[in-house]
């Protein structure tokens, strides 16, 4: 049975896609990509344009101490905790048109449509442009109160200090604490983003209802064997660190491929002495493991430790697993997931539930308030590249889901 066609307002697709294209001209690269590093000249230009657009649709614009741009469309009940959406407009050194920018511009489009339909919600709607998502995530971390209290940590790769960076965008390191928010003033946060992975496309789904942002643990694995002459050392007398490392890589791949949605990767590797005629004596490599469930990661790591012990014995090597990063999963609020799914049905869009395996400002916002995320497909799963692409039709579909979800949540929260 075909669902009833909604009588709800819909976004202006042409306007949305034109705005995406317009923003992508700032920092445009010859290869079609975009370079808009946080705090750069291009970032500042883009921030100015977004603020101008916010003002054009009569939003109240402010910049907090972390440089986050917060545009507000006031609701009927000014004192009630707001509904927030948003994303970021900074990019990686050679990024595409959609990552971050899409979520911000869809948020503005949603507000503009509400205004055009003279639809004032009960709650205010905030569109937040978070500072430096592709780097330190200092914008959303300031809002969640998780900025590290060490300005040196936030020094830019080019050596610029964080004081001058924040000052340049209207922020202020010394009053960063004032940027902190809570569920007292934000009732829910919904981020719309491109998937940056191939799942929606491969499942032929139009919308992804994000279950949460996976937890991530990173380790440095070291394998100590004995470097020896590759000619004169018989096979039976070797302590070959690279043979052991190869078995470790396959063990990591094995736990990655057990039932579940986890991913496990060895991406980085160094071999010593790294000469064709020397049996390797030392290998160092990275392990990155991600899943929505921290308990599941624990149990996979437990299994891996057993494998590593077996490999060390079998190869006469010493293997160490040293933690170097530990991010807990950030789960999306089930009620928000349901609201998104209901909106997809109303809009007659196909959808699936899936985890986000990349980081987003939403993971910080989950510390502050109820969080949800909407994904649209990324062609071939490509992201952080000039060739990143989501079709105009898909951009419109995602923006409509965002708009409807904000309306839905407003109505639900008022019950």
């Amino acid at each position: 049975m075909k669902p009833t066609i909604t009588t709800q307002p819909l976004v202006n697709g042409d306007r949305l896609n034109q705005n995406i294209a317009r923003l992508a001209t700032i920092g445009a690269l010859p290869n079609g990509g975009v370079k808009r590093i946080a705090y750069s000249h291009e970032d500042l230009q883009a921030r100015n344009l977004v603020q101008q657009w916010m003002r054009e649709i009569e939003m109240e614009v402010r910049i907090d101490a972390a440089g986050n741009i917060i545009g507000k469309y006031p609701g009927k009940h000014a004192a009630a905790p707001a509904l927030a959406t948003g994303s970021h407009i900074d990019t990686v050194p050679c990024g595409g048109h959609y990552d971050g920018a899409y979520g911000v511009l869809a948020g503005l489009e949603a507000v503009q449509v509400l205004k055009e339909h003279q639809l004032q919600l009960n709650r205010s709607v905030e569109v937040i442009v978070f500072t430096d998502e592709e780097g330190s995530m200092i914008g959303s971390k300031a809002i969640s109160g998780r900025v590290i209290n060490d300005p040196g940590y936030y020094r830019r790769p080019d050596g610029t200090d964080i004081y001058s960076c924040l000052k340049a965008i209207g922020g202020n390191w010394d009053s960063l604490a004032t940027a902190r928010r809570s569920s007292q003033d934000i009732a829910a946060f919904v981020e719309l983003h491109v998937e940056q992975g191939p799942i929606l496309e491969s499942m032929n789904k139009q919308i992804g209802v994000v279950e949460g942002i996976v937890g991530q643990r990173r380790f440095n694995i070291t394998v100590k064997g004995s470097a020896n002459h590759a000619g004169t050392t018989p096979m039976s007398m070797r302590h070959d660190a690279l043979v052991a490392a190869a078995r470790v890589i396959l063990a990591v791949n094995k736990i990655g491929n057990t039932p579940g949605q986890q991913v496990a990767t060895v991406g980085k590797m160094q071999v010593l002495p790294n000469a064709a005629n020397v049996v390797p004596g030392w290998v160092e490599m990275s392990l990155d493991i991600r899943d929505l469930s921290s308990l599941h990661i624990d149990s996979l790591l437990e299994q891996l430790r057993t494998y590593l012990e077996e490999i060390a014995v079998a190869t006469n090597t010493q293997i160490r697993l040293n933690p170097c990063l530990h991010n807990e999963p950030a789960l999306a609020e089930p009620q928000i997931q349901s609201a998104i799914a209901r909106c997809c049905k109303k809009l007659n869009l196909s959808y699936t539930y899936l985890p986000s395996r990349a980081s987003h400002d939403a993971q910080e916002m989950a510390q502050v308030t109820d969080m949800g995320m909407i994904f649209v497909p990324s062609e071939m799963g490509v992201s952080h590249d000039a060739s990143e692409y989501t079709s105009p039709e898909q951009c419109v579909r995602g923006a409509n889901v965002l708009l409807q979800t904000l309306i839905e949540l407003d109505s639900e929260l008022s019950k």
Copy 2:
């Protein structure tokens, strides 16, 4: 039954070990090692000392166009092809006291003992000090006629050209062809050397009768996958070049561990892009495989190629095996092996047959004439290091086997 004690002459062990220690003072390093790079000031000093010692025992000394020092103890039949022994006195940048030097000094000691016993053999005995064994092996290659006809190829790492190098040690690039020898003037060549591996020590044998110097093939293996986000790319959709490479390493290890005396090693590896959060898209690694039988290497490579094809299919990657070095094995003459073994028995020394898996000047001499090699144990199998060690007792045992083998071959060849 205990073998009859030989009445044959024996070397003067104290003198031999004193000479080894004396030579090791030239280029001595603070850590106990020796640095005597070919053509260096230290190499020249050592060459002068060895020539002085040759003259002191009344050998006829000449330097050929490749800078090889050739000391001759004339035999009864001056026109008959000579018996030759020798090795090298240059070292790696941080070498030990024994590699090369031991074989040269044991050769001189053998001649001195023959003279002291007024034992003139039928054939002349030559002791050859080969030029630059640790580098280009130009000395023995000039004797075998296998020098590459391109002076640029022999340029030193420090930029010095081969003309001036050879000139400094009394050689001459332009007349290199005159250094060539044949079985018409060398009837047999026997090199005494430290094993540089752990086999004799682990088998508790005093002498190694070398079966030949292994052939060596070297390849560059490339694995092409697809670099992708380590978070957003599901396990099932990866083309992980490092997972494929791990399976290649284990396949190489597997063929190395099949029955036989081969060794097979992946010693060098590079991963791209080599970042913890990116699925590796490209891996390049070395393969080094060595065995006494070229046919056996062929069949192992055939097996490996089958494995590589299976791995490429299973991992959705492309794997290429590109040859970059091909050295044929150099077999020791069975008659010389038997002569060495008989001498061990006469001297009541334990011995075993084994291949040499490192390169030696003897492999070039095998192109010229019948070749044999005698090994003595290397403590812990260590070589090319300051800690390289062979006990004085073992040095004496090996030198006695060399002396006896020269006498034995002289007598055999006169039959």
